[in-house]
Amino acid sequence: MGRIQGARRIVSLCANLRLEALAAERGGKAVFADVNVDVAAGTLLRVIGPNGAGKTTLLRILAGLGAASAGSARWCGADAVEYRASEAAIFAGHASAMNDALTVAENLSYAAALAGFDSSSSDVRRAMSQLGVEKLINRRFGSLSQGQRKRASLARLLLRTQPGERAWLLDEPFVALDTDTQAQLASLISQELAAGAIVVLTSHQSVTINALKIQELTL
């Protein structure tokens, strides 16, 4: 077990994403086809396209949550489905992935455990304080305001052993965020990119993100 874990850790630090002739369908209808991209470490990949172009579908495939109908999505040479993509990436979709009945801390440590991190309560506290919402840590998620919920669920992204360890797959992360939080998230993304992570982002909003390498993918 120990040996395998060691091998996994090396893989998860390798940040490289390659899409080859990737195609997806939903309900038997093709959503997109023949997507080819090569993304290196520290790159921001903006996925652009109108509603229904398959941006979320693409992100889910990258996260290993959905299957491609043709082609491949490979993290560091390994298929996103066969090799569980959670080793390479953290997916943040429209939903918060937090249960209303549990406290923020309980939710976050559950998320961290499932993502494969040994998260102590101090890790959770650190992530929450990075977002400036440390005092919410023992509140029930269901009792938070919309803005607080957004911030608390962003803390999930920061529960990694070191910055840049996992790619971030963010589906419309700026929606329903106030300008302060938008700026905060943008700077967190920049930091993560600087640490060598890949960040894949779908967004209708034009939020400026400082990044050395930016690629765009139009669906």
Binding site: D100, L102, L114
Partner: protein, 224 residues
Amino acid sequence: MSLRTVAGAVFRREMQLFARRKSDWANPIVFFLIVCSLFPFAVGSESEKLKLIGIGVIFVGALLSAMLSLPRLFDDDARDGSLELMLASSEPLAVLILARITALSLGLGAALTIAAPVFALFYALPFAVAGMLALSVAMAVPTLLLIGAIAAALLVSARGGAILTAVLVLPLTIPTLIFGAGAALKVFYGEPPAAELALQGAFLLLALALCPLAAAAALKISTD
């Protein structure tokens, strides 16, 4: 991170939820109580008559109320997005599902196991029969939850989930029903219930071996 820690986290969360949301176990018990108290109105209140139907009513009532809890296995998580955490985990999904079912079996199973013999007294059943009913229900609820998890997983995103779950699951629980109620009936007639209990145990083991795998496959199908 080992599989044990991850499965442990899933188990612990389910238990926390169980403790947090009292309605999760209180409602099935109340439903169970109401089902059991409806029958005397329908068949008459003579204790001889009630004795004969009591075992069956209590057993079916326990199965139905466990079945009503099935949607909560995955539906809430699918709604708030936390199901994706489990789906994307690098640990085998079947084991994580098993951890959830185990937690639900312990919580809900315990509640129903305590309720069943109490309700047996409503039906004027002797203590020995009530005790055997408790044992039978304790074995049947996990079996039903295991089989039901497959349907619950398939119907995460489908319409008409609750009633369709019943249509899919109830026919598959007939063997458990036969031998679970059968064990209590044997005690009622003063015969040894060993064979029924052994078979019920066999079904539980078979379900333990196969159902989490099928439920994992089902969840992947329905969330793809």
